[in-house]
């Protein structure tokens, strides 16, 4: 769960490479983004992703096994636990905690830092990557008839789309995502508190951000969500240029949100910076793990299909 190392695309065999030409989920994100609008691209990603799955993600994603109980007349035979029958010669049925559709809220960071890309020609900005990833994820959820909502925030909550399970709801989400413009600062706590108001029952919260925010406040809010019984997934988006420091011989590095700046030589500081980044990622991972929160770091040059697989293949 939640790898802390940069994603490395698996080496594909020749048939896989040929198939990948038709699967947008495996292409380079910036190439995928050039193919068309958010809707078209997201559908292509989801189609490709679902065609590559060997089983439905729903099976381990939104339905949770609770306990066994004695079979009673009228119970559906498909819930009979045939293995238990074989072992104990008694009829038991599996009882699930939730048999209705999942309610999921995706919380998207749209601060100014999310609009940044170290190499705009070859790497999508984090916000653009997040938009496509969220569109794809929400399409998958809606196809499973899971109610999916969206909160967009920067230094305040910009937009709230309550969760709905209708198929047409996806286009509303797309409209919201498409209209999202980068804001100024980052204030995650209010947005996460809004989730509490929206999700009355236990559901799924997907927090998509570059985590360049107040860590303690954000963690407190995430832990509170977890405390309320929600399944919480943190998707930490990082630009490749944020992983490895580079730049001119000497430069003044300025934070687009806070205006904080530091003058240094990237060559001198590259190693120390990478250590610091590794430490920060490790701290986030450890803190989330302790709270039962899924943490995934996704570098924005990772194909969307791999990102979705990482997120969806790890049931809580």
């Amino acid at each position: 769960m939640g790898g802390v190392h940069p994603y490395v695309a698996p080496r594909m065999s020749r048939p896989e490479a040929s198939a990948a030409r038709a699967r947008l989920d495996l292409l380079d994100p910036v190439d995928v983004a050039r193919l068309g609008g958010l809707e078209l691209v997201s559908e292509g990603i989801v189609e490709g992703f679902l065609s590559g799955l060997h089983r439905s993600p729903r099976r381990g994603f939104s339905v949770e096994f609770a306990e066994h109980r004695m079979y009673q007349p009228g119970d559906e035979l498909r819930y009979v636990d045939w293995k238990m029958l074989g072992r104990s010669d008694r009829l038991y049925v599996k009882q699930y905690e939730e048999e209705t559709n999942l309610r999921a809220m995706i919380v998207c960071d749209a601060s100014r830092s999310m609009a940044w890309s170290g190499a705009p020609d070859v790497v999508l900005p984090k916000l653009a990557y997040a938009q496509r990833l969220i569109a794809s994820l929400s399409l998958i959820l809606l196809r499973q008839r899971d109610a999916t909502g969206l909160i967009v925030f920067d230094d305040e909550v910009r937009h709230v789309t309550p969760p709905r399970a209708r198929a047409a709801h996806w286009r509303q989400l797309l409209t919201t995502l498409s209209a999202t413009q980068p804001g100024q600062g980052t204030a995650a706590a209010p947005a996460l508190k809004r989730v509490v108001d929206i999700l009355r029952r236990r559901g799924l919260v997907v927090f998509v951000s570059d985590l360049l925010l107040d860590r303690d406040l954000a963690l407190t809010a995430l832990r509170f969500l977890r405390h309320r019984g929600h399944q919480v997934v943190v998707l930490h988006l990082m630009d490749p240029a944020e992983v490895t420091l580079s730049g001119p011989a000497e430069a003044r590095f300025e934070d687009p949100e806070t205006g904080a700046a530091v003058v240094l030589r990237p060559r001198d500081w590259a190693e120390a910076y990478e250590r610091t980044v590794r430490g920060a990622v490790s701290d986030w991972n450890a803190a989330c793990r302790r709270s039962g929160i899924q943490y995934h770091r996704i570098v924005t040059n990772t194909p969307f299909g791999h990102a979705l697989r990482v997120v969806l293949a790890n049931p809580a």
């Binding site: 360049l212 001119p248 000497e250 430069a251 003044r252 934070d255 120390a272 910076y273």
Partner: protein, 592 residues
């Protein structure tokens, strides 16, 4: 510190280039928008101090690198005193163990002080150095430092004088053939009389003692006048010199007879009457009371006492007759015919060329009849007599060659241009020129009467000379001498050769078993004067000499004058600085 190319020091301004670049680079760098500045701040917060130190260290290293290169280009040289290590070099160490070094100064023999200082110099030498040692015998000995230090420990005061000017020039000649950079170190009591002008090419360091100069009185001269003395005795002259104005008690001893006492004034001469004795050879020894320098407190000469010669001088011409009259008047000659000057006598004869050339054949026939091994030959070119103990050089206007008739040339007493002029064969002396002004200038010279005295009283009797040489010098032995003896020591010699007495004292010259002369070896009178030369005098005689006290001789060695070239060390320093800069910029940069 001096520089070979001081104008290049202007390049030191380039030392400011790194600082200038540093300041230029402090201009506002380009701004890069970077959301993860918080990570950069976290990273730099930990390493900022170290990075700042690193930047300043780099600036310092680069500045020093430029300065080192500029200084190296300017060719700095520095006096190497205080530097314990040195590059291989050549050094000639002159240790003045002349007689004056035996003086006791401050309770310690001066030589002991000199040897200690010289040992310090050699202690700094390494096997890679070429080292020579010159002492009072003036011979340059090369050896490894250990060997020469051992030789130093065995060094004793010599009875000879060391001409420091000559020693310095000799050292310079030694170094001239040496590829290594050389220098001369003279460790000396710096006796003023030992200095002579010299301008060595090699750097010269003079280590001199400090403190009071010991006061000394020594016998610088002992004479017995014309010899032989008659058996009635004679007058000895003693001259005393020194740094003290006090009178010095003096004792003279002839043979084993009771000593004669006298009081000599320093700087003056005193006559002491020596009583007569039986005919023979005696050692006449003069001594004074011991003082700080013992080796010059005694002097000795050979003293011959014999009956006066009885001679006839008329056949030799009027000048010789007049000289004999003077000798008779002064009690140096008695009338008689034991010796005939200018003709043939019954006993001894001094034969001169006949005034009438027609008589030459008769004279030669008479010589042959008497068994004389020499003849008069033809007329030879004019010239002068060679220097000898018998007679100083005098001009000769005419002379006849003296031709040996036997198988060898023996009995030559005096020569002119290498050819015999005065010879002896048996009881006959042959002189190549008549003793008048038509043949030689000798009658006009003051040495004429003493020469006639020597001729009649000594040479005609078969005796040669009483030689006096300075300690360390060699004397030319007369032809007929076959051995030299001193006490029980005996040295077989060949007449006409040189004999260097191994020590001071009196040596008797033998022909067969007969004593025919004496050779006295005494210290050089100049050694008794212990007055030191001033630094100014030294610099006047030895321009550029570096004068140091004895205790600084070791540190000045391998350094004085030959200034250390700092270009090599500076280039190494620049290389080290460059490597340090590269290491700091790369290794530390990766660790930052």
């Amino acid at each position: 510190m001096t520089f070979l190319h001081p104008w290049l020091l202007a390049g030191l301004l380039a030392g400011g280039v790194p600082l200038l670049l540093h300041l230029v680079q402090r201009r506002e760098p380009p701004t890069v928008v970077f959301p993860a500045v918080r990570y950069l701040l976290d990273a730099t917060r930990e390493h900022q101090r170290r990075l700042r130190i690193r930047h300043w260290l780099l600036l310092l290293l680069r500045t020093l690198l430029v300065v080192a290169l500029v200084l190296a280009a300017a060719g700095p040289t520095v006096a190497r005193s205080g530097v314990t290590a040195h590059a291989p070099g050549a050094l000639v160490l002159v240790v003045d163990n002349s007689l004056s070094s035996a003086a006791v100064a401050g309770g310690t023999p001066r030589l002991e002080q000199l040897v200690r200082a010289a040992d310090g110099v050699l202690a700094r030498a390494t096997p890679a150095d070429a080292v020579w040692l010159i002492v009072a015998d003036a011979a340059a000995r090369r050896g490894d430092p250990a060997t020469l230090r051992a030789a130093l420990r065995e060094l004793r005061p010599a009875t000879t004088r060391l001409d420091l000017g000559r020693a310095v020039l000799s050292a310079d000649e030694v170094l001239a053939s040496e590829a290594l950079r050389g220098e001369i170190v003279v460790v000396t009591d710096l006796q003023a009389s030992a200095l002579a002008a010299a301008a060595p090419r090699a750097p010269l360091t003079v280590a001199r003692p400090e403190g009071a100069i010991p006061r000394n009185v020594g016998i610088v001269e002992l004479g017995a006048g014309s010899q032989p003395w008659s058996t009635d005795g004679g007058q000895a002259q003693v001259k005393v010199a020194g740094d003290s104005g006090a009178q010095a008690p003096l004792a003279l001893l002839a043979g084993d007879r009771p000593a004669r006492q006298a009081l000599a004034t320093v700087g003056g001469a005193v006559q002491v009457a020596i009583p007569g004795a039986a005919a023979g050879w005696y050692a006449l020894k003069a001594t004074i009371q011991p003082d700080e320098l013992r080796l010059d407190d005694q002097r000795v000469i050979g003293l011959r006492m014999a009956p006066l010669a009885r001679a006839t001088c008329a056949p030799a011409g009027r000048f010789a007759e007049a000289a004999c009259d003077v000798l008779r008047a002064n009690g140096r000659l008695l009338p008689g015919d034991d010796i005939v000057l200018g003709g043939f006598g019954s006993a001894a004869s001094v034969v001169l060329p006949p005034a009438d050339p027609a008589s030459l054949g008769a004279v030669n026939r008479e010589l042959e009849r008497r068994g004389v091994a020499w003849r008069f030959g033809d007329v030879a070119l004019a010239g002068g007599t060679d220097s000898s103990a018998i007679l100083p050089p005098v001009r000769l206007f005419r002379r006849l060659r003296l031709v040996p008739s036997g198988s060898g040339r023996t009995g030559v007493l005096l020569t002119t241009a290498g050819e015999p002029w005065l010879v002896r064969s048996g009881s006959v002396l042959l002189v190549g020129s008549r003793l008048d002004t038509g043949w030689t200038e000798l009658p006009f010279r003051a040495e004429f009467v003493p020469f006639i005295d020597v001729l009649l009283n000594r040479l005609a009797r078969g005796e040669v000379a009483s030689l006096d040489v300075v300690a360390g010098d060699a004397g030319v032995l007369p032809d007929l001498v076959s051995a030299v003896v001193k006490g029980t020591a005996r040295w077989p010699v060949e007449g006409g050769g040189r004999f260097a007495p191994p020590d001071t004292g009196l040596y008797f010259l033998l022909r067969g078993t007969d004593t025919v002369g004496a050779l006295a070896s005494n210290p050089d009178p100049r050694e008794s004067m212990l007055q030191q030369a001033s630094d100014a005098q030294v610099r006047a005689l030895w321009p550029g000499a570096h004068i140091v006290p004895l205790d600084q001789a070791a540190s000045a060695a391998f350094a004085a004058g030959a200034r250390g070239d700092l270009r090599g060390p500076l280039l190494w320093l620049a290389l080290a600085l460059g490597l340090a800069e590269v290491g700091l910029a790369s290794v530390w940069g990766r660790r930052a």
